[in-house]
Symmetry: C2
Subunit: 461 residues, 2 copies
């Protein structure tokens, strides 16, 4: 089925690519690190910039204050199916800064052996992906004077820091945010050039604990031997989280975890995922996850308990003969199936308590956010329409895939607004999101914009 | 045996205490943190101050440059036995700074339930202890116009950072530094009011390693499961250092370790050491060391492998869903008996290498300094003379004790200059050396000065 409306839009997108890249660069220069209070003003500036950009498309948009960073909500007045598009404008912290080859907030176009890339924090996650949809709308508006659907834009500024304001905001503004279906651009392609629609996402649980041993820091000579060392204590506790097969050893951890269907397993095996490239690109010769599961299963359909930060004692130059009073650990779990974040949190805390030596104390100070895993309603006709549109753009059969990451918003749309979501993204495994030297391929950006133009045509046909 | 020379010196010390405290305060205000290159200039200023102070006693003193921080060497021209006094003017880092109730380098006199104390970094270790000897000399000189012995002063500025310049300096200036016996004031009293001469010291070994997992920091969603997490890896390695009985599990670790004699065991049991107070003062209800050994044995005659720093991943505010590329660990061992630091280093490195998972790499970047344990030559008559002098001052039988800390200088004096050393110190277990809110009791300072005056009389009788 060809759509006469589409070709001029695609031509416009090709012609306007340099201008679209300039706009993305401008957006990337604002250091909107949401987890660091020092960057609150930068987050507000980013929200303002996006609202202004939407207004230039004739969208009635404005930043909406929250107790945290502002949301941006915009309403298009055009006819057609009612679609909501979600993206987030906040980014991850940049440390370790010394590993960046170029300053994280001074984005650059760079030629690489794999083609042109946009280098900088947020280039892929999620500013670059967010703008693919905005640019598709801009082209459509420029060519046809209107958008092919009634589109609500919803941009968040706290996705990288647990979305503390999201649920209250969605509940308060439910009418404002409800559409026929939500479109989300915050996911990656299963392998280069293979357009992917995410049909299941892992959930997330975060927590943080401190182990206290002695009342004060001690001299390792005067107390070394008799003293309980919280660094050794926390190491023993962290080591107890997993068994020799890489299975999480927390009692009841796997409650609610199901094996995936043979059909899904077959689809994943045929998804074009290149295990060797995926592992070698980060320096691995083998997969290190739970024994008995494929790399994709370990990444998409198995839960994890990861340590994201571990610290205590002297970390400066030289040495210090100290037995510190405290040691600290930040953890996150990825959830699948029906795992309940709150119940799991209690199981993990009970496990740690059970490991403690006499005289050792544990205190928990994690932000208590968590989100269960999400499975998309792929029976909706929009999924087949989008799958066809993506297949047309990439000349490669689009596939339904899982995602190892957590995008709680998909679950919230369902639970709070009873709205299904469809996740389409163009990121690549080697984008180094959350890492130094994050990048987004210009091809992902360009064909991503074209892909959304095609999806808009397909959903409004 | 009474010594007519002594009483007027002791009277002078009592009368001059306020002035002596003022001088110590001035010395404590200089932040001479030797391990931090940012404080090199402060170390140099401290050396200058000490050289000037010695000159005011008629000592021919000057800072002596090294490739690191300067030494201070001073020679008295008086008659009598040739004694060398050693102390160190550098101090430990002050972190965690937020746990200090008063600024570490703005020393204060404070009233406590245990009496008056001088609060500040270095008050006890070692500036306060060093000045007890200098003040004793000042009083003697003021009263008698000369010192009762030929005294060489030797102050180091790198004791808290592995003494990198010490051995080359001692070798180069051996003639300059050789005396009949070395006196060292850098140790503590086994219990409050019990004068103590250290007859054995644990040795020291320092090392530091980095575990590298993935080539770059990874997103814990996209890679969590298949990825090797260096934080979990380093936790497992650290946990493998000890068995369930608190014994070090590194193969061959206890080579060269002997049980102490029944006689020494008896002396220690009668040393007045109050185990309960020692443990409770830092928040312990029990000893956590090697099973089957008393707290004093764990502290004085058993070796340790301690973790002094452990870090990796995200340590900032909020959370970050990262699997870091690297994790780091600083360790120190306390050595006893004939344990060889260099052989032990290889055993520990071999142990770590044997624990590594596939794709995990270890790199070692510790400064390679180490020192074996030291046992003093207590048969020398100076020990009995000093023991009697200390007993007279404190009205409590002075005892020969072990020390958990490491003072490599004692071993160097023997190995390089063939000079025995005698360690007498007045610090207390609750001085919080190397910790926030370090203090030195005014009683330790005052009676410490008086003790040295008595020891000088006894050694020159």
């Amino acid at each position: 089925m060809t759509d006469a409306r589409l070709d001029p839009v695609l031509d416009r997108i090709d012609a306007e690519l340099p201008a679209a890249l300039d706009r993305l660069m401008t957006l990337l220069r604002i250091p909107s690190i949401s987890t660091d209070p020092a960057h609150a003003e930068d987050c507000a500036r980013t929200a303002d910039w996006l609202a202004e950009d939407l207004k230039s498309l004739g969208i009635d948009a404005a930043p909406r204050p929250t107790t945290g960073h502002p949301m941006v909500v915009g309403h298009g007045q055009d006819a057609g199916p009612h679609l909501l598009f979600y993206g987030h404008y906040d980014v991850q912290p940049v440390d370790p800064l010394d590993q960046w080859k170029t300053p994280p907030f001074e984005p650059e176009m760079q030629e690489t052996t794999h083609g042109k890339v946009i280098r900088g924090r947020g280039a892929s996650d999620d500013k670059g992906q967010l703008m693919t949809f905005v640019e598709a709308c801009r082209a459509w508006k420029a060519v046809h004077g209107s958008l092919p659907a009634q589109i609500t834009f919803f941009f968040e500024g706290e996705e990288e820091s647990g979305s503390p304001s999201l649920i209250p905001f969605m509940k308060e503004h439910a009418a404002d945010l409800t559409a026929d279906i939500a479109l989300i651009c915050d996911t990656s392609m299963v392998s280069p050039g293979v357009p992917s629609i995410a049909s299941q996402l892992r959930g997330m649980l975060k927590d943080e604990f401190t182990i206290t041993g002695p009342r004060i820091d001690l001299h390792s000579g005067h107390y070394g031997g008799p003293a309980l060392n919280p660094l050794k204590e926390i190491a023993r506790i962290v080591a107890s989280f997993h068994d020799a097969d890489g299975r999480v050893a927390v009692e009841g951890f796997y409650e609610g975890v199901d094996e995936i269907s043979d059909e899904l397993k077959r689809q994943w095996e045929n998804s074009g995922f290149d295990e060797r490239t995926y592992l070698e690109s980060v320096g691995f010769t083998q997969s290190h996850g739970e024994a008995g599961y494929s790399t994709l299963e370990q990444q998409w359909s198995r839960p994890t308990l990861e340590v994201n930060g571990l610290w205590g004692g002297y970390m400066g130059p030289g040495s210090k003969t100290v037995i510190p009073s405290q040691a600290h650990c930040k953890i996150t779990c990825r959830l699948v199936g029906d795992m309940d974040p709150d119940k799991l949190r209690q199981k993990i805390r009970a496990h740690v308590a059970a490991q403690l030596s006499p005289d050792a104390k544990v205190t928990w100070d994690g932000d208590l956010d968590g989100a269960p895993a999400a499975v998309m309603n792929t029976d909706r006709p929009e999924f087949e329409a989008a799958r066809q549109a993506l297949t047309d753009e990439w000349n490669r059969e689009a596939v339904l895939v899982g995602m190892g990451g957590s995008i709680p918003i998909a679950g919230y749309f369902k639970d709070i607004l009873d709205m299904d979501a469809m996740l389409i993204g163009f990121a690549k495994d080697d984008d180094a999101i959350h890492s130094p030297n994050e990048k987004y391929d210009v091809e992902s950006f360009h064909k991503g914009i074209r892909s959304w133009a095609r999806v808009l045509a397909a959903l409004s046909a």
